[in-house]
Amino acid sequence: MVNATPDLSVKLGKLRLAYPTLMGSGCYGSGEEFAPFADLSKIGGIVLKSVTRLPRLGNPTPRLVHTPAGMLNAIGLQNPGIEWYLERELHKYRGRPCKIIGSVAGFSLDDYSYVSQRLAERDEIEAIELNVSCPNVASEGETFGCDPDLTERVVAAARATTDKTLIVKLSPNVTDITAVARQAERAGADALAVVNTVRGMAIDVDRWRPRLGNVTGGLSGPAIRPIAVLAVYEVAQAVGIPIVGQGGIETVTDALEFFLAGATAISIGTANFTDPRIPERIAAELRSYLTRRNLSSISEIVGQANAGITSAHQYEGDEG
């Protein structure tokens, strides 16, 4: 094995990815926007912008604020609605050299099952991600992901509509993310995306107003990485299904933190705004990392930061 190039491919349920890197929903458009700068054949797949049943104009502007080592966004799920989307958008994704994953957002159980079904019918779409954790839509969106039982029902409803890989994207804005994760798994999720953005806010001190048109937004980027790594670490101990780790991944070191915490794949969002070459660079550097350590596959490091350390240390932590 030592001399063979290490295998970066991973599986999320039925979905096989040549690279363990997805581009985060809402951050990468349809891929075509980045194609002039990035080699789409060197990424695992693209998670499309979340789509809803009805068209949404989205939130008022400003929609973005740069914050220390991160960014607040409140796009508000601007999208043309599922019908228009299927008719006039989806064809764009044909023939992309990477996997295409549809993302579904909604405000009722019906929304989620209807949109999941319509999307999953289409063969451009190879998997479905349920966004039950968008913090930017006057909270209904997020309530699903913040309540284990609602999450279970939404997931079950979507699960019933398709056999394609179903990824459920969890919110970090909860007291116990493992409770939500367990319910999602029980309801039939094939994988979990951990985590969506952290709720936050910035204020314009000159004009005495929130800096975002929507007042509050979702924090992404390196600032939230420690929060996301912990979420992956805890969820990995709570469920048996694969995890797509995300939150502030910009370098191979960052990516490795997520794999070692228990992620089977990673998702890169905001880092594409820093440098569109980052996903390809991370894939290449993951390969050399594995080679240096004589490892034959990325799967060999998944969850390795995990084994048995906790108890020992926490015992000692309680001393005194």
Binding site: G26, C27, Y28, G29, E33, F34, P36, F37, K49, P55, L57, G58, T61, P62, R63, L64, V65, H66, P68, A69, M71, N73, I75, Q78, P80, G81, W84, R88, G221, P222, E250, T251, T270, N272, F273, T274, D275, P276, R277
Partner: protein, 276 residues
Amino acid sequence: MGMMALDSHGRVHTTTVHARIDLATGVTLLTLEAPELAASVRPGQYLMAIPPSGESAATALAVYDVSGKHASILFFVTGKRTRDLATLTPGALLDVVGPLGNGFDCAGGERDVAIVAGGVGIASVWLCARALLARGARVRLFYGARTADLLVETQRFADAGCELVLTTDDGTRGERGLVTAALRAAAPPEAIFACGPSPMLRSVGEIANELAIPAQLSLEETFGCGVGGCWGCVVPLTASSVRAPGFPPAQRGGSDVVYARVCKEGPVFLADELRW
């Protein structure tokens, strides 16, 4: 009035800082050796500067000037990212993505045009001024800043043949007050090209619409991706605009609006298609 073809194909360029001039405290002019970029830029286009430190998002900066194999950027230090860029000295490498966006259409037939620039907006209008002067137009530059020191590069515009009308908020140079007041007070031009903060552009737009003068406004929204992928930089357009993206319009304030991306459909829009 026709605008130039939509969509532009930027690339990632690794450039070398050729020269650096500090125009004022916190205002830096960097000349980059970037042959392909320099060859392909059109007035009003911008680039995304990839942070040398590797931290934080790329920064949208107008391509200020081009000559031969050089392209330059002119920026004001307003926060972390521009502070990062301000650490660059000759010889340093800077990766940029560009040219991006749809810039000014300077090919119209107007003989008497006004360019309106506020603050950093000056960086977006030099190539436009040059193109307009080159085709023989009379170019009046209405240029405002907070204070005298921040009125940069005025000599360059004057030497090139622009007639300057300068304003400062504190009256330390030119007329005291807003640049838009100076515009209003002046004899109406046949066309307006403007770049600056939103409040300024809004009132330039109002003036233009009142006087029925065609106006091209280069907007400055906070960018995320800078290439059309995140819908973070949007501005409302009338649904009938040629630049309106193919999205179902929504009713707002009695008209059909669609959010367009400043980074992709813009940054330059016509005053009469904006619905902000």
